[in-house]
Symmetry: C2
Subunit: 209 residues, 2 copies
Amino acid sequence: MRIGELSRRTGVSVPTIKYYVREGLLPSGELSSPNQASYGDRHERRLRLIRALLDIGGLSVAAIREVLAAVDDPDRSVHKVLGEAARRMTPRYAEGGDDASLASARDQVRQLIARRGWQVDACNPAATALSETLAALDRVGHGEFAEVLDDYADAADRVADADLAYVARKAGLDDLVEGVVIGTVLGDAMLASLRRLAQTHRSSTMYEG
Amino acid sequence: MRIGELSRRTGVSVPTIKYYVREGLLPSGELSSPNQASYGDRHERRLRLIRALLDIGGLSVAAIREVLAAVDDPDRSVHKVLGEAARRMTPRYAEGGDDASLASARDQVRQLIARRGWQVDACNPAATALSETLAALDRVGHGEFAEVLDDYADAADRVADADLAYVARKAGLDDLVEGVVIGTVLGDAMLASLRRLAQTHRSSTMYEG
């Protein structure tokens, strides 16, 4: 297809498509004549992935380039590619200092990971983010909120099962990574809203019923 | 206690405490002499609540004033007060238009609420936020991700149980609302990190094991 058709199909403007080609995010089309390039399904899939990383994942062009390099690296396993995408979408809680709260939070996280039997690296960015959140709780005098950790981890296991079952249906690596990006970011928003609804229901039962 | 002691105990500077008094967020101390005011536990608790709403909840001074008005209203039930605090901490996903995706997403949310037997208002802001997220999924061609909704709702129910058990231990309404603010905001961050860890574990099992 021509670039105009690619633009219509994906909702991405022609100048933007050309910009992605110049930036090396999207392979150039095949030249069918000296000044006409032809684009295929591969371009369309890649373009959707770029938009997902940009619009939903909130990634920079430089970060997108690295994720795409992982996707295109034949030596990289699916697990590594998914990890590369997920790593860039891990929100970090505003850091406090390297204090006693953080040291104890790191211990809590290490113990939790061991208790759950989760095969994750100790330097996983989500583990770091979790330690920082637990440290923040402790600093505002709510360290005991960490008692909910195992209930939360049960819930997270359930959610992750559903997430992986969703992405596993995707055929190619581009689609798989796109599914991870969409599911990660919009899934967080979905889960936060559902948590509010469930809390409202329970609060109504506890305090009004 | 004097204002200096209140400042030491809470980590809030004296000028900031005076600012909160001027803005009507914190009641003035009792005058023990013409130019000396005395502060009690009530002030300390309220100051901690203000900081939680501001630093963790990210609320504006105007929004904090309304939450505190709800806390101090003797005619407001605990459920209503918690609802007022929670309402202001519901993240909204960037809105698209009022299109077919949104109309169908609203139906999905109504059906989900009915299916779960959740006693929540249809105009609950979390229900609106959830509809917007589902509409966004549909617009990027991932409407089928909504199939995970019930698994996510199961997880949300489990998390909400743990949340409410935590806040129910709080004695006064100030502490209760503080617990809700802390638990809501930091709980979202905790859950997002745990979800990443659980996903990593599953991905490693599925694609490497």
